[in-house]
Amino acid sequence: MRIYLWQWLVVSGIFGTVLFMVACGNNGSPTPGPVSACDLTDIPYNPQPYTIVKPAHFPEIFIPADNPMTVEGVQLGRRLFYDPILSGDSTQSCSSCHLPHGSFTDNKDVSVGIDGIAGRRSAMSLLNVAYVRNSATSDGLFWDGRSKSLEAQALKPVEDPIEMHNTWPNALAKIRESEDYKTRFRKAFGITACEDISQELAAKAIAQFERILISSGNSKFDQYLAGDNFALDDEELDGKLMFFDEGLSNGLQLPDAECFHCHGGLTLTGNQFFNNGIDSAGLLTDFKDLGRGEVTLNEWDNGKFRAPTLRNIAMSAPYMHDGRFVSLDEVLGHYIAGGKPRPNKDPFIHPLGFPMQQGTQTVYTGFTPYHKQALLKFLHALTDSTFVNNPDIQNPF
């Protein structure tokens, strides 16, 4: 077939006009309606469901219906968690205060934000944080339980003046400049334009990442629970029996340590709020940090805090909401003595030992250094180094 020049000109002319129109459309001038400065629809959106790996004996994890777990979401959340881009001066990320080797704490008594100002509380471990108040309805995050969900919580540190001290509009502007983040937000959430990158989506991605921070099941305690009767040695086993108030060890009565009543369940956090007697308070208004009372506004809740997980506790010193105890030995010293007097002390905080009647009073006797040692060894048997070394949760940068 022969093509004449005029035919060629006509065809290429039409083609050129079409090309021109398309290009103009892209430039946005003639097309009506709202126009995006950056269109992301060319990037494929095909999210893959993410299945959280958890030990078989662990309970089901509650996933909110509006934030299903995806591979892309978790990967994005991991980057946001480790990226200082979210803080006011780009020096601090979530991971500045929640570091893997501290079981996602910073090993400081209280955390210090970007301006060098010390907060009033100690960073909390994020191990098994997906199980904190594992349901749709109840609140529970933070030492005082003031935050209802990981999604809601993740919004807070960014704007907290003594943490990352930024504004979300400012943080989002920086994120929207990054080609990598634009692509990742599109792949995780199917947004069509840069402007759709929002603080809510950032929080959702971070929450997805936090939900994978689950025990590996390799601690000695987990191996024991999974059926390996020899995973705990005799001392650790006695410690476990005391921790869970299970009493008899080879026919020998052990004193109750009462720990599991508050640090209960497989994740060893009951998700409840107690006063564990670390401060003496004559009046309910005497507590320096009102804790739960700030949330419920019931003064009988003053000085109550959430009993946090004891998993990996040997890695997350110092201890308590204000990091007052530097070692587990000090913590046990506190519990053995039975705590300080205050009106709303929890009845499980009493001197450890066997209760005996002395006159009309009940006294506790017979808690020996061996008992303390056994408890301490059990707390160390909760260490899960596989978790802190898990490559999937390390800094991706």
Partner: protein, 251 residues
């Protein structure tokens, strides 16, 4: 011809009987059972000292599992619920008054002869573990399970007391009852009306719970202060779960 008549007649019967079914079908109504915690008939107040024998006690936690709530009509049984968790002292309460816990059911309207309530977790369900249930199920609560008994903690009553009025609590009341051996189901024989907006209250009175054979349960005796630290020993749990029948009233 005879056969045809028979067929027509039976068709008529069927039609009639189905009509009858439709017209007399009794309607179903909401029925609310409201659980209330009391001390000596008054709403229970957390942390408040109550006179007890010649000393003082106060309570800080009270919750219980309920299984197999069943309405009775002679020998007929209408099951309202499998298992529920009733928490009178939740962490998010804004004051110290025990919470009233309403449980909503649906039942055919009418007057029943009684109601049966299981206190604790029914044995077949108690054989399971929290990890067997979806996160929002009442039996998914890890804190309400004790590996020592391999059982749910059927009820928790916690508190303290001051034996000698010196202002210091020296009595720690730690009653956690559990294990199949102490599951109790009690029948309350009294007319129960199910009609639009109907309901009853179930009062659980702690003073009555600790009044055993008309005697104060002596809370100054250490072995009476806690359920036990030996999973095999359910003596105190048995005393309390047995006495629930006297401590609970349906009104």
């Amino acid at each position: 011809m005879k056969q045809l008549g028979l067929i027509l007649f039976s068709m008529l019967l069927i039609t009639l009987s189905s009509c009858k079914d439709k017209t007399t079908e009794t309607p179903v109504s909401d029925y609310t059972l409201t659980f209330k915690a009391t001390y000596n008939g008054q709403p229970l107040e957390k942390y408040k000292y109550y006179d007890y024998s010649d000393y003082k006690v106060r309570f800080s936690r009270f919750n219980t599992y309920i299984s197999d709530v069943i309405l009775l009509k002679g020998t007929e049984e209408v099951k309202l619920s499998d298992v529920e968790w009733v928490d009178f002292t939740p962490d998010d309460a804004t004051n110290n008054l025990a919470l009233e816990v309403p449980l909503q059911f649906q039942a055919t309207e009418g007057t029943y002869t009684g109601i049966k309530i299981g206190f604790g977790v029914r044995p077949d369900l108690n054989a399971k573990r929290p990890s067997d249930f979806p996160a929002n199920h009442p039996l998914a609560k890890e804190t309400e399970y004790w590996l020592g008994w391999k059982s749910y903690i059927f009820s928790k009553v916690e508190g303290q007391g001051d034996s000698n009025a010196d202002g210091n609590d020296d009595i720690f009341l730690l009653y956690h009852c559990g294990s199949d051996a102490v599951y109790r189901s009690y029948t309350f024989n009294q007319p129960i009306v199910v009609a639009p907006g109907s309901g009853n209250s179930v009062e659980m009175d702690l003073k009555k719970l600790f009044t055993i054979n008309n005697q104060w349960y002596d809370l100054r005796i250490p072995t009476n202060q806690y359920t036990s630290n030996n999973p095999a020993d359910v003596t105190v749990a048995t005393v309390l779960m047995d006495n629930l029948v006297n401590a609970v009233s349906v009104k």
